[in-house]
């Protein structure tokens, strides 16, 4: 399993009712169902991923996240998770608000555009590409990239409390350097959020 998913798993209470926005092949939901008795649904738009979820017995709903979460009631989930998807949606600010309307808590992970290698590439006059951002600028699903500072500023503006933060490198290690300079050394950011 992807190491960021391992980290997230530790943040989710056993027997939670969970919604996974952009659930991919359903790995996280399946893992949590097996290890923590978590129930819930994954939202996914890619046909091949929907097929994989169905094959592994994950409840998957073929939804376009950009259409909003109108089909879900307020506070109907314990936790709403969105891994490596925030940067690919039309309006990340609305998506965050929707997450925390539908779920009591939200968990978000995204690639940090403020990582020093990104900054270096930009300083050299090029759009950054890396292990966590492998796409060319002209053919990428990642249309709303942000830095640690940007994201935390948005949370403050939206009245969202950050309950927990983890910033890791591409190998999902979190050493002293990362703790001291998260915005510069972190490649992937993980947040646990709640509405204030």
């Amino acid at each position: 399993m992807r190491p960021d998913l391992e980290l997230i798993s530790d943040w989710i209470e056993p027997d939670s009712r969970m919604l996974d926005l952009g659930c991919g092949d359903g790995t996280l939901l399946r893992h949590l169902a097996e290890t923590r008795g978590v129930t819930g649904y994954g939202l996914e738009i890619d046909p091949a991923n929907v097929e994989r979820c169905v094959a592994s017995g994950v409840n998957v709903l073929q939804y376009d996240l950009n259409r909003g979460l109108g089909d879900f009631r307020d506070a109907s989930f314990d936790v709403v998770v969105m891994t490596q998807t925030l940067q690919a949606v039309d309006q990340p600010n609305l998506q965050l608000e929707e997450m925390l309307r539908v779920g009591r808590e939200g968990i978000v992970t995204f690639p940090n555009f403020g990582h020093y290698r990104c900054r270096l590439q930009l300083a050299m006059g090029r759009m950054p590409m890396s292990r966590v951002l492998p796409n060319t600028w002209y053919d990428t699903p990642n249309i709303h990239l942000c830095t640690v500072t940007d994201f935390e500023e948005l949370c403050a503006k939206l009245g969202i409390t950050i309950l927990q933060r983890a910033v890791v490198d591409h190998a999902h290690r979190s050493g002293l350097g990362l703790r001291l300079l998260p915005g510069l050394l972190g490649e992937i950011c993980l947040y646990r959020l709640e509405r204030r």
């Binding site: 009712r17 649904y41 929907v50 169905v54 994950v58 409840n59 998957v60 709903l61 073929q62 089909d71």
Partner: protein, 381 residues
Amino acid sequence: MPEAIPADSVGLVTPRKIHFDRPLELDCGRTLPSYDLVYETYGELNAARSNAVLICHALSGDHHAAGYHAADDRKPGWWDAYIGPGKPIDTDRFHVVSLNNLGGCKGSTGPNTIDPQTGRPYGPDFPFVTVRDWVASQARLADTLGIERWAAVIGGSLGGMQALQWAIDQPERIRHALVIAAAPRLSAQNIAFNEVARQAILSDPDFHGGHYYAEGVVPRRGLMLARMLGHITYLSEDAMRAKFGRELREGGLSFNFDVEFQIESYLRYQGRSFVDKFDANTYLLMTKALDYFDPAARHGDDLARTLEVALARFLVISFTTDWRFSPARSREIVRALIDAGKAVSYAEIEAEHGHDAFLAPIPHYRAVFTNYMNRVAEEVA
């Protein structure tokens, strides 16, 4: 005629008939003292009797869902693309039961069968039947076949509504419900189309108040019009454009009311060929069953509350260009299932065919269907 019966076909099949003597009380308040149900089966029932799957048919469907009745049949059963060895409903793993519903015209008791009390066809005196009545009669069929619990109940369109009703009325007797291209109830527009179809039949001078059997005629024009109208709603505009466009049969305009455009030719052909194989009274009954379907009505129009009793897991499937029962209608079902905390997966299949897509071989649809049924097969093995 198929050159040879394909390897992934269930092959030659023979319908069977069961007579039921126990009276069936119907939603309309009347009682059927006795009745017959015609059905087909494909694949073997396992020793635990746990691998049985029920196929529910749509408006003009019947029990002949797969295979051939004779080696020289031009076409296989109506859902042959999805039922057979190695197909999504894999007859190497499942015992498939497919019946003709009560009120049908293909052998089960209906308007064109003899009323034992009068010795004449029921005709318009056949009682109105509902989706609930069908489920009740299908449950008795299951009793007779020794099937305590279906591995899955599966249907498209009106068939999907039966699968949904099964989950509500017989929660202990169904493990999975596959609700395809359906809706939780008809919209005003849906009912409007049905009403025009009915008026076409009812106003045909050959209808004779439904007693046309005795007159030796059938309301051909009315039934044909009803079917033509139906076909317009089964296809998407894109599919119609792609298939027919404004193409003319002859090179130019002929300034008369004969068939000029290919679409006219298609509709007339569909209408005409339908008249020879379907009964007008049954068509009237089936459209009424559609109009009346509204399981939430008994629970204050709250579909989520209606579904609370369900124990089944659900797969709901819709098709992007289906405007008869659009994806939004399927999402109403999904939303209610989520609110009721039920296990549900939902696939919204990109397809150009319109409502008819549920019968078409579409790779993504097929893959989702296959993967889901594989899980069901593993569960009941």
